[in-house]
Symmetry: C2
Subunit: 419 residues, 2 copies
């Protein structure tokens, strides 16, 4: 009976999908950097906590736990789960001068879940997803769980180079090669480049989606944070039947609530509801957020955020212009949280990072933003979290780290002063 008692040979084997995720870890230097409280970490798109509306949130939670509000503690929740989609539908109807119905809106646990649900609903493993190159690593990571064929298309000052997309689609259609199923884009103040897609390119991309039958995930996480207060029409306005428009309250209210939303045709919303499997985004949090939005002047709040982040963008780009060595380039975003820096071609980002840690500053290196091997001389800097003085100091430190990396002979052996 020894045979019966001995275990069958087996090992812990995870699903294939787990093999297809972006290698963020190797270029996310925050783990080491954030252990040092004196490091100025430009790594993440964190809003400044001083901009959170604490007294108003306190009142909103109290209301969510009183009287009828307490129904939000139940499965399915109270009125917040309908008031919040209604608020978003009304807000976008007004801003876009169109009609968005509340049942074209699905509340999600942050915009990441909206992207996850898009992948879950649309993608079989052999399906192809296209991206801007570079693009947000979180989206690349999530969508790679579902569709394992990925391709990136370049960008210029007008955003995604749509002509290259059109050529590739035409080539594939002619040869019978597979067409993409989803195209993930961030047209406003893109993560990581800060670039904005031009109106003409938005229209063209929408037309391509309708013509070739793919669906656009239009991630508009930063759309309400345009510094001149003017927003281009969303891609959705040109192809509402082919767009999954994604938004979030993480940048404008607070990330810790974890509330995003997707606006899409009803067939798609119903499909996403069917595959949404965590029992719904917290009804208590939805109730709280609905209470908050109904109690404050949200437009005035947004105006305040825009001015604050604009000042920080200025602090970052003006200092970059003053102190960065020649041969370095960077974007000047019209909104959002990020500046994208390109160093001379053969710069080794790991080397820059080591010097940056000595100087007590950090960033996210370029590679995780690409689906291929690109980005090794690039970095993303976030200007959202720190006050302007800290930003200036951080950029100064960064410039020293870059200089050292570009001049191997001058590498100091003594530790730098730090802060």
């Amino acid at each position: 009976m020894a045979q019966e008692n001995s275990p069958i040979q087996h090992e812990l084997r995870f699903a294939e999908r787990t093999q297809f995720q972006a290698g963020i870890a190797a270029f996310d230097f925050s783990g080491r950097a954030l252990k040092h409280s004196d490091v100025i970490a430009f790594n993440y798109g964190l809003p400044d906590g001083d901009l959170f509306q604490l007294p108003e949130l306190k009142a909103a939670t109290a209301l969510a736990l009183s009287g009828d509000g307490a129904r939000s503690l139940q499965y399915g929740g109270g009125s917040g789960t309908s008031r919040l989609p209604a608020y978003i539908a009304a807000d976008r109807s007004r801003r876009w001068n169109t009609t968005v119905e509340p049942d074209e809106v699905l509340i999600t646990s942050g915009s990441s879940q909206a992207i996850d649900l898009a992948g879950r609903l649309f993608l079989d493993p052999t399906d192809e997803v296209w991206f801007e190159a570079p693009s947000y690593f979180g989206a690349i990571h999530v969508l790679s769980l579902y569709g394992r064929q990925r391709r990136g298309f370049g960008m210029d000052a007008q955003g995604l180079v749509v002509d290259e997309v059109a050529e590739e689609l035409e080539r594939r259609a002619k040869t019978g090669a597979p067409l993409p199923k989803l195209f993930y884009v961030i047209p406003n103040y893109q993560n990581p480049t800060g670039l904005t897609m031009s109106l003409e390119r938005r229209r063209t991309l929408a037309e391509l989606a309708m013509r070739y039958g793919f669906y656009i995930i239009e991630d508009d996480a930063y759309g309400e944070l345009g510094f001149d207060g003017v927003a281009l029409p969303p891609i959705r306005s040109f192809a509402p039947e082919h767009t999954l428009y994604v938004t979030t309250f993480s940048k404008t209210v607070a990330p810790g609530l974890r509330v995003g939303a997707v606006i899409a045709p009803k067939t798609i919303i119903r499909g996403m509801q069917r595959v949404k499997s965590e029992g719904g985004t917290s009804p208590f949090v939805q109730e709280t957020l609905a209470n908050l939005l109904e109690s404050i002047d949200f437009q005035a709040h947004l105006a305040h955020l825009r001015q604050t982040y604009r000042d920080r963008r200025d602090a970052m780009t003006e200092t970059l212009a003053k102190v960065m060595p020649s041969g370095c380039e960077w974007t000047t975003p019209l909104g959002g949280f990020f500046v994208w820096v390109t160093l001379p071609e053969h710069t080794d980002i790991h080397r820059v990072w080591e010097h940056a840690l000595e100087e007590r500053v950090s960033f996210v290196g370029g590679p995780p933003f690409y689906v291929d091997e690109a980005g090794k001389n690039q970095m993303r800097l976030s200007f959202s979290y720190f006050k302007p003085d800290i930003i200036r100091e951080g950029v100064l430190r960064l410039s020293r780290a870059v200089e050292k990396s570009m001049s191997p002979a001058l590498t100091p052996t003594a530790p730098s002063a730090g802060r």
Copy 2:
């Protein structure tokens, strides 16, 4: 150029996984029932909102929005995201007389997300998942998104008939047929049957998992609600390396918070973290829940819940014994929220449902709890939501509906009185 302007033929096509979900809708009669406020709906496992701790929750949210607590509004959150896993680890270490480390705990958005992540981490589409028959339809639904081969194994008064499982495993191992990857069970006060798996069967199932290399999802949603206050050791205690133990605060604190957790080996927890894609369960809610648990006598609260739900179980089973027609059987659960009723074999559950709606009572029919065509003469009744008097009235109404269904000749044509 006409050709270039005409759209390529395409249609909206969702991923294959969307085809493999349980058909809950056809047997979930709540949609129609809940439109009538006078219907006593035994459909869902809703806790009674009168048992929510509103003043304590209000204090916990206020604390989560004050001082250091407000860090919970940021990405990654404040101390709640570490205090909550630490609380769960300490609580289970004490109750199980073992050591659970905080990094063996992952907080999830309800227990449904824990189940989803297990499927996401382990299952390729051709992988097989086994269930008790019947089992919780939510778990069947979620796991079917990932693994499309499903099989159920029968239950008796001791819970899952483990011998049948052992035979099937042995047969497959001998013939080289595929072994299951995951086995989903609810050993305590099962949903929907209310049955409890015996100690001996827990041990045997654990041994089978180790021998044949599959992983057990041990869903313990109701484990803290045993009416005699005694809990059997979890399956995990016999095979910690092969168990993903799932718990939730939905039954004991409030579903609307959407907080669950999974306890598993660190390799599996890290894998689940990698494929968890919504930016983390709301740190604000985690902070709130950690504050609550540290401020109340949770054991006293659980004792109160147990007594309350025990009284309701009694009201339901005692009334069933008094009023149900002969030929009907039901379980008498030792905990949890559910009684499982089996009607005479050829009863048509849709017919019972129509009569039940006339009588102003409702339930969930049996079929969605099975992976095959079974359950057509069964129903799940929840006793958790209503006070005992309402439960007695509801069961009385139900008995009339069942009687009518069993006696076609006596079907009344006049509408029933309702309430």
